[in-house]
Amino acid sequence: MSFWEFANPKRFMQLSSRLLPWVAGLSLACLVVGLIWGFFFTPEDYRQGSTVKIIYLHVPAALMAINAWLMMLVASLVWIIRRHHVSALAARAAAPVGLTFTVIALITGAIWGQPMWGTWWAWDPRLTSFLILALFYMGYIAMWEAVENGDTAADLTSVLCLVGSVFAILSRYAVLFWNQGLHQGASLSLDKEENVADVFYLPLLVCIAGFVLMFLALVLLRTRTEIRARRLKALLNRERMA
């Protein structure tokens, strides 16, 4: 049996209806365990105090914000190459989720940045590239909304996603260049993964797993909704023709 059989909407609906409760439940379990463990059963950082705990929301959200775009890129490629409708709809379903994760990452970062850096916002390369990523998501979603014909919209957004990916990467490095060109000593961006001790690391891993599963569950749910909406539209069209 080939992987591509799930491109059949019917097969996809069957599989996803069985999978969805498990994924959603597991995600909820991971998030509850990870967040409670992280918030209440880890020591406070000796310098950052309790503010360090926002890491359990911030890092997974940021991680998934980027991976959601990556998933959209793969789904767009699958749509362009193999013309599987489920793939295009999954890309459409993932975009608002990715945008939400981006915004969560930006907001939690600001909440953490206020006590630590003394500012809500700084034009740091990481922050700036996330803001640009949010703009890319908005453009992508707006493109889907603007085009009426489903297949045309899928094609146009796929092309936009491909071009956008190239420019997103380009912007990432351009921003790095831009900031180093203006300021030196970007002491603002902590590379958190390197200096996180195991006490913080394990609950963080659980939270990341929870966010990955949550993304999966939301995309499955939203793709199912899209497929149903598509079916409804087809039925309505058939009624009108008859």
């Binding site: 936009l160 351009a174 260049f177």
Partner: protein, 218 residues
């Protein structure tokens, strides 16, 4: 292709609106900035390169939707699609025509506005060079955005939402060249990167634009 270029240039110049409008917008924007930030000469001198770059970018944006929209409405785009010239070539020519009627005049006008904004003397040369190197990329990226939104009724607003994030790298490097040049610093690295972006967009964007056009003409 040359015939197409001549036709587009003639249409842009004679049909009114687009050609002078972008330049006038650029002028008005540069005049408005001192009202916003105050007339202090040193403040203006610091922000002048960036303001002129943003002004050029926005003026470029103004006329983007005319690249394909008019031809789409009167049906000549369909003829172009069935012509022996590949759509990729049509996109390049359209972008070139847009640059000749927008980017090039903006580049030539920019030093004059630099005087208004108290641009340091060392900056004039680099401002013109950075705009001359960078604005083709703006036209090429814009042609892609215009191709994406050509079939839409209110494409203009969506066009700016799509295109502006794509302009980020070009703006960063272009404004870097102008700013560092005005400060008397070395501009080699950003200038090479800016030229790289222009060359890269020239190589790749016509294909993306042609793909979008084919989808929209289907």
């Amino acid at each position: 292709m040359i015939a197409l270029l001549r036709r587009d240039l003639v249409l842009a110049v004679r049909a009114g609106g687009g050609f002078g409008l972008g330049l006038a917008f650029f002028l008005v924007l540069s005049v408005l900035v001192p009202f916003g930030v105050g007339p202090e000469a040193d403040v203006l001198a610091r922000i002048a390169p960036g303001i002129l770059w943003i002004g050029a970018l926005l003026s470029c944006l103004l006329s983007l939707d005319r690249i394909f929209a008019l031809d789409f409405e009167d049906g000549s785009l369909d003829l172009l699609a069935t012509a022996p010239v590949p759509l990729e070539g049509v996109s390049v020519v359209k972008a070139l025509a847009h640059w000749l009627t927008t980017g090039l005049p903006l580049t030539l006008l920019a030093p004059g506005l630099g005087v208004l904004l108290n641009l340091p003397p060392a900056g004039f040369g680099w401002l013109v060079i950075s705009l001359a190197v960078g604005t083709p990329a703006l036209s090429l990226i814009g042609a892609f955005g215009a191709a994406l939104t050509v079939g839409l009724k209110r494409g203009g607003l969506l066009l700016s939402l799509l295109v502006l994030p794509l302009y980020v790298p070009t703006l960063i490097f272009g404004a870097q060249v102008a700013t560092q040049g005005a400060a008397g610093l070395d501009v080699g690295t950003p200038l090479v990167l800016l030229a790289g972006i222009s060359a890269g967009t020239l190589a790749l964007m016509p294909f993306a634009a042609a793909a979008a056009l084919r989808i929209n003409l289907r």
